[in-house]
Symmetry: C2
Subunit: 261 residues, 2 copies
Amino acid sequence: MSAKIRAVNIDAYRSNKLLMNPMGQPRQNHLADFKVGVDNVIFSVDTHLHRLLVLLVKREDQPYQNYWSFPGTLVRMGETLEGAAHRILSEKIAVKNLYLEQLYTFGNPGRDPREAPDQYGVRYLSVSYFALIRYEDAQLMSKNLSQVSWHNVAAIPTLAFDHNQILDYGYQRLRNKLEYSPIAFEVLPELFTLNDLFQLYTTVLGEDFADYSNFRSRLLKLGFLKDTGQKISKGVGRPASLFRFDARAFAPLRDKPLVFV
Amino acid sequence: MSAKIRAVNIDAYRSNKLLMNPMGQPRQNHLADFKVGVDNVIFSVDTHLHRLLVLLVKREDQPYQNYWSFPGTLVRMGETLEGAAHRILSEKIAVKNLYLEQLYTFGNPGRDPREAPDQYGVRYLSVSYFALIRYEDAQLMSKNLSQVSWHNVAAIPTLAFDHNQILDYGYQRLRNKLEYSPIAFEVLPELFTLNDLFQLYTTVLGEDFADYSNFRSRLLKLGFLKDTGQKISKGVGRPASLFRFDARAFAPLRDKPLVFV
DNA sequence: GCAAAAGTGTTAGCCCTACACCCATGT
DNA sequence: ACATGGGTGTAGGGCTAACACTTTTGC
């Protein structure tokens, strides 16, 4: 026990993180030193199987070895936060389009076990990012696919660090954004049926958020969904029209509350 | 000039922040070291004069000496982010109630001139917080009031660091929150008239966001504003009823979109 | 023909908007 | 009395929710 504390202190001393006053107590009011990480909560939707997915990687190293976690990395010298988010994302997955925004920052002491137990060593702060990508376009980038994979949000295991909490934030952000912002079209393929869109909303927001026929007519009346004239047949039943999202027609509705749902 | 760079490098070396490879170039892929600050965007509304206010402090030290900035501080060892936000806030202002939430994190290289010019020294990351307080309850905490004061959001000077950008984020958050969340009651006094409430919305969202009589009946129908029966007279004209926000009656409307406006 | 999936139509009730109007008070 | 600010009422247009109905396909 005392050996462990001693080791911590030596390490802290060596990296000049922990300053002692002449009484051997840590100085009050001394600034904390941080390493800053980014963690990406990457969502996608499998329209066919109606599954909301999030991308997880299995940690190869300590701490939390073999736990699933969000793709994250520590920020390097000269690198922007968003740059770090893009870097780690592109190491795990290849994707054409991508929606990315900052989610939340977690930086309380003790959130990373690499911090010294007495909390006077280096601290690890995580800036989390929220991302959406098209399931069809995404290509996982691992030789060993067991290390990177999609997980159904409905069944997420205990994750490394405070990542379950980060997921809660991300999931809530996703639900909120769906209601007033056209992010659904970041997740859908270029051409989609209105049923695809409806299924996406149902998958994320729950089964009973709205009636299909009303959802349909409300969105069509808004005028930013363009019927391409093409039809697609999914087995039995009447073929569906393929639509395209027209960003230009949507522009005037920006910042208007509640266009969807 | 070269003396300055030398000073930076010595400082970086001393705190073990800048590692050189044998060629004298900074090592690639080396992690950045951060100091983490919090900056509070503290809003209040002067209901009488219809002014939206934000609290600024005048910087006493370099960099940006004598510029106005948000009350901010660097995070100390063992301190939570929110703890640091509360600490600096209570140094500048005494207040009974307080609404505080995280706003956004700014951490790109070069945002603080204390970073070495070549950007390979310590970096300064800022986690900004959004706060709302009651103007009547707030007591500025300065012997020298010229150093801490309310500023009309309509006329903000050039601020220190990237604080004008932070203000933009904060102002937008305020407007969004007003629409779907009961934060207005954090800013209003305990008892208020419906006209106070309406003036608050008008001040923040603009003159023509709604009709007073419709605003009034819509909110009253929702049932979380309790008429205390007390009247208050503001000079000439019919005295107004004083209302109180009933948080319990509001609870079922939590997370429901667009209860206001 | 029939089941399945896509798409259209209808109706009643609600809410939002834009006003007009009435009420209570100070001077 | 009348100006001033507080408060109520109402007619209409538009939107929503719920559900019935029609169309187009595969088998």
